[in-house]
């Protein structure tokens, strides 16, 4: 690819990603790209540990209030959760393809794929909205706000506390991700990305895949096994 970039760009500035230049403190573009990627991976570590706290709480309270968790998880909608899983996996797929098309200088295709990713993210949130409003309506709420009456076991409020915190923080990540995807979509429209410079697409992609990864664990734990 770099030979192609060279051919198109000739000496000095390239026609691909014309506004891109290597920041003065990096020796070459490759180092800058690697540094960015490493930074994002380290950031993903912090995300894993952030969610990790909630997974820890889940493990502890599931063991402590097992009957409550089993009973409460039957009140989650598996169909909606399943649909959302498929929606997110699809968005991850299109995101990965968007990175690929950016690598191959297919600007229009990148835009299209990013738009599909964005649409999937929006759909995820719509489904989430229906799930949430249903829970709120039934009084299936965290801790002190829990009002549903027909529960046999003692502490379903704790389950819903963890459910709302986990899916809520995950939802916030989806919203942030949508903002980031929109941002790179607009930049892509201005032909800023190419095989020569596509680091933002790649890095937003990494973030988006992590959002998917978290959901891959949330879905079975909360919806399927409780």
């Amino acid at each position: 690819m770099s030979a192609k970039a060279e051919a198109l760009g000739g000496a000095g500035e390239s026609k691909l990603s014309p506004q891109f230049h290597v920041a003065h403190h990096f020796d070459k573009a490759d180092t800058q790209f690697d540094a960015g990627r490493m930074g994002v991976w380290l950031f993903l570590v912090t995300e894993i540990l952030l969610f990790g706290g909630l997974f820890c709480a889940f493990a502890i309270f599931r063991s402590k209030y097992f009957p409550s968790f089993v009973e409460a998880h039957h009140h989650l909608d598996r169909v909606m959760g399943g649909i959302n899983t498929i929606v997110l996996i699809t968005s991850s797929f299109t995101m990965a393809l968007a990175v690929r098309s950016a690598q191959k200088n297919e600007t229009k295709k990148t835009t299209l794929l990013l738009a599909i990713t964005l649409a999937c993210a929006a759909m995820f949130l719509v489904v989430k909205y229906f799930e949430y409003s249903h829970k709120i309506h039934d009084g299936l709420l965290p801790g002190g706000n829990f009002t549903a009456a027909d529960f046999a076991s003692g502490h379903p409020g704790i389950f819903f506390a963890i459910y709302f915190m986990m899916t809520g923080i995950h939802g916030v990540h989806v919203v942030i991700g949508m903002g980031l995807i929109l941002w790179i979509l607009l930049r892509n429209q201005k032909s800023e990305f190419s095989s020569r410079y596509y680091a933002p697409v790649e890095n937003v992609g990494l973030y988006w895949h992590l959002v998917d990864l978290v959901w891959i664990f949330l879905f079975p734990l909360l919806y399927l096994v409780g």
Partner: protein, 168 residues
């Protein structure tokens, strides 16, 4: 300025061949294959949850499938398989530290209050914690009464326990 720079700095700001980042483009079929795998595993995990193999069994199956899915996403969609090894180390170390966090925390929550049962069987008189040793069925000479818990070397703490009741 540029003339006084060291050699490694010469290509600064220009897209020369050796300095540019060269993307590693995967074939399309890898992506579609991954996507299909993920969809298939989603169906499997939902289906498996309807098969009752005990709560622990279901949990293990669900986590196993989720881990496979997550690995596929990380290795292929996130390009970890072709990436620098160090990025993989970063990722795995996060999981490792998470395991430490959850594991050691559960060493508390799973075993809390276990000493209470033992204490209930052998009640300790707070005002005179060493009474049992003095009057109990095991005859211990006063001058080598062991320290609380009895695990520490008994001779070392011999004077202290004897002195405590005297103070009251």
């Amino acid at each position: 300025m540029s003339t006084s720079h060291a050699e490694h700095d010469h290509e600064h700001g220009h897209g020369s061949t050796n300095g540019d980042h060269v993307p590693h483009v995967l074939p399309f079929k890898v992506y579609i294959g991954t996507f299909a795998t993920l969809l298939f595993l989603t169906v499997v995990t939902v289906a498996a949850s309807y098969v009752n193999i005990g709560h622990t069994g279901n949990l293990i199956v669900a986590l196993l499938i989720a881990t496979i899915k997550a690995s596929v996403v990380a290795l292929i969609f996130m390009h970890l398989k072709w990436d620098h090894k160090f990025h993989g180390i970063i990722f795995v170390s996060a999981l490792l530290f998470l395991a430490v966090f959850i594991g050691i925390t559960m060493s508390d929550t799973e075993f809390r209050g276990e000493a209470e049962a033992i204490e209930a069987k052998n009640p300790v008189d707070l005002k005179d914690p060493f009474k049992a040793q003095r009057t109990g069925d095991i005859a211990i000479p006063k001058e080598i009464a062991p320290a609380a818990g009895g695990s520490a070397a008994p001779a070392a703490g011999s004077a202290a326990p004897a002195a405590v009741p005297a103070k009251h």
